[in-house]
Symmetry: C2
Subunit: 297 residues, 2 copies
C-alpha cells in the first residue's frame, strides 16, 4: 500500500540529510504535571523552537534546496498568511533565492515584519477582493517564478516528516503520534516517517481543530492521510486556549494556537485510552502579540 504513496520513507531520510546543520534539531520535552493530569506519558517535540518559529522551515528548505540553478536565479513566489511565509523567506535567504510572498493585508504586523526581515518581497492582498493564490499564480507566470505550494508537494511533505523522524529516533517506542492538521503537510510527512521508523505505530492519530482556519486538504496529503491515519479528532477554540495557557504557565514555553491543538486533544481525553506513550509535534510558537496579550494568567 505505502509503495503507492507520493512520498517514501527514503524521501524523509534524504530531507533529514539536507536539513542537517541547517534546521534546529529541536528538543523533546516532557511534563510530569501533564502526564499526571492525563494519565499518559507525553513527549513534546518542540518545533516552536525551530528556525522561523515553526516546522514549516523544514519543508520549505527541503523544497527550495532542490530547485535547479536557473529556477533559483529566477526566484520563487509563495502565498501564506503566516508560518509558511516565514519558513519560505528564511529558506530562500539561506539559499540566495529571490523570494516574493503574497500575504493578506490584515496579517499581523509581526508576521509581515518577520517575513520582510528574511529579505523577501511582500505583496499585500485584500482577501475580500482577490485570492492570494490567484495573485501568486499570476506572478509566477508573468515573472517566470517558481510557485512553492504550502503543503501539497512531495518535497514539502518529506521535509515536514523530519520532525517526526527526529522524535521517533529519540523516543523509539511511541504508541501514537499526534500533530495538528491544516493542509495536511505535517501530518502526512510525519505519518510516513513514523511508519517507516516505528512500524508499530500502525496508524498515528491526527488531530484537526475547528478553531484553525484550515485550508482544504491537498491531493497528495489526502492520499497519504487516507492510507496512514487512524483517526481525526476535533477540539474547540476554548479548549485550545486552555492548552495554550497550560503550556505557557506550567511548561514555560510559547505555543501558537495551532501548536496547542494536539495538546488540547490529549488534555480533553479525545485519544483512545490504551495509547499511553504519545508523541506530539508542537508545530510552532508564532502566536500574535494581540492574542498573547489577551491570555490571562
Amino acid at each position: 500500500m505505502s509503495a503507492d504513496l507520493p512520498v517514501s520513507f527514503a524521501d524523509v531520510r534524504a530531507a533529514a540529510e539536507r536539513l542537517r546543520g541547517i534546521a534546529h534539531r529541536t528538543p523533546v520535552l516532557t511534563s510530569r504535571t501533564f502526564n499526571a493530569l492525563t494519565g499518559r506519558k507525553v513527549f513534546f517535540k518542540c518545533e516552536n523552537f525551530q528556525r522561523a518559529g515553526a516546522f514549516k522551515f523544514r519543508g520549505a528548505y527541503n523544497r527550495l534546496s532542490q530547485l535547479r540553478d536557473e529556477e533559483k536565479q529566477r526566484g520563487i513566489v509563495a502565498f501564506s498568511s503566516g508560518n509558511h511565509a516565514q519558513g519560505i523567506a528564511l529558506a530562500a535567504q539561506l539559499l540566495n533565492i529571490p523570494a516574493t510572498i503574497v500575504m493578506p493585508d490584515d496579517a499581523p504586523a509581526i508576521k509581515l515584519t518577520a517575513t520582510r526581515g528574511y529579505g523577501a518581497e511582500v505583496i499585500l492582498n485584500d482577501r475580500q477582493k482577490t485570492s492570494r493564490e490567484e495573485i501568486a499564480r499570476q506572478l509566477a507566470q508573468e515573472r517566470g517564478l517558481t510557485l512553492v505550494p504550502p503543503f501539497d508537494d512531495p518535497h514539502i511533505i518529506a521535509g515536514q516528516g523530519t520532525a517526526a523522524l527526529e522524535l521517533c529516533e529519540e523516543i523509539p517506542d511511541l504508541d501514537a503520534l499526534i500533530t495538528p492538521v491544516g493542509g495536511g503537510g505535517l501530518i502526512s510527512g510525519c505519518a510516513i516517517a513514523a511508519r517507516g521508523l516505528q512500524p508499530r505505530i500502525a496508524a498515528p492519530p491526527a488531530t484537526i481543530a475547528d478553531g484553525i482556519r484550515t485550508q482544504a486538504i491537498g491531493t497528495l496529503t489526502f492520499a497519504i492521510m487516507r492510507a496512514l491515519l487512524r483517526e481525526i479528532v476535533i477540539v474547540s477554540d476554548a479548549e485550545i486556549l486552555d492548552a495554550v495557557r497550560f503550556v505557557i504557565s506550567r511548561m514555560k514555553m510559547i505555543v501558537e494556537p495551532t501548536g496547542a491543538v494536539p495538546i488540547a486533544a490529549v488534555m480533553q481525553q479525545r485519544i483512545p485510552a490504551n495509547l499511553k506513550r504519545v508523541g506530539i509535534i508542537v508545530s510552532g510558537g508564532n502566536i500574535s502579540g494581540a492574542l498573547l496579550n489577551e491570555v490571562k494568567f
Copy 2:
C-alpha cells in the same frame, strides 16, 4: 587555591549522580537572531524547563537526599518567597520527608498554591513584623526540624553546579559562563563545575541584577565567588524586561525576570567583547501571572 574551597568538583559530580533520572536534563537552546544581535554564539541552558520551574530543585534534592533517616522522619523547614520553596517542597515529597515552608503572606498566589501542591505545609509570615528566617529557626528548634538554607550550604551549591556540568559537557568549549546571582548558590556551584570540566573558563563572569531583591551573599558562596569569578555586572529592571520580552517573542519560552538577567547582560554588551562563546544558565520560568499580564507584545 580551589583545594581550599568548601565545595569540590567531585561534589558536583556526586550530586549529578544523585540527580540522574530525577532532575530533568534540560535542553540547551540557541537563537540565531540573538547571536546576530549580539555578535556572539550563546548557549541557553534552560532551567526554566526544570522540575518545579527552576534550577533550585537540583540543590534541594541533593541536600535532602543526604539527610540521615531520623532527620528525614522528623522533617525539614525552609524559608523562601519563591523557587527555593517549590524546589524544597518537591524534593521533600519525592523523598517522603515532611516539609514546612515559611513564606511571606504577600507571595504570589501561584507560588503558594504550587508549594502546597507538592504537599508542603506553608506558614505565612508578615514580612513587616517578623523575619521569616527567624520563624524558620524557631520552628526548627521547637519541632526538631532540619533547617534547609536557600544557598549557603555545600550540598545546595554542589547541586546547583550540576546545571553548568551538563551545559559544559554538551558544549565543551565555552569562553564564558553567566548566571544570575541572588545569594550566590547557583553561580558558586556553576563556577566549580565549569572550572572542573573546562579549565579554560578561567573565570566565568557572573551577573548580578539590581532588579533582583537579592539576599546577602552567603559565607560559603562568597568564598567561592571571590576565588573563581571574573566579574559582576549590573543590569536595570527595564533591561531585564526587554530581555524577557525578547525571549518570549523570539525564543518562544517563558523566563522569570531573574532568569533573564544574564540575557540582558549580553544584550546590553556588558560582557567583555573577546568572550564569543557564552553559556547562560536561564535560571527559571516562574514568572508571576500579574507580571506576565503586564508584558505587552
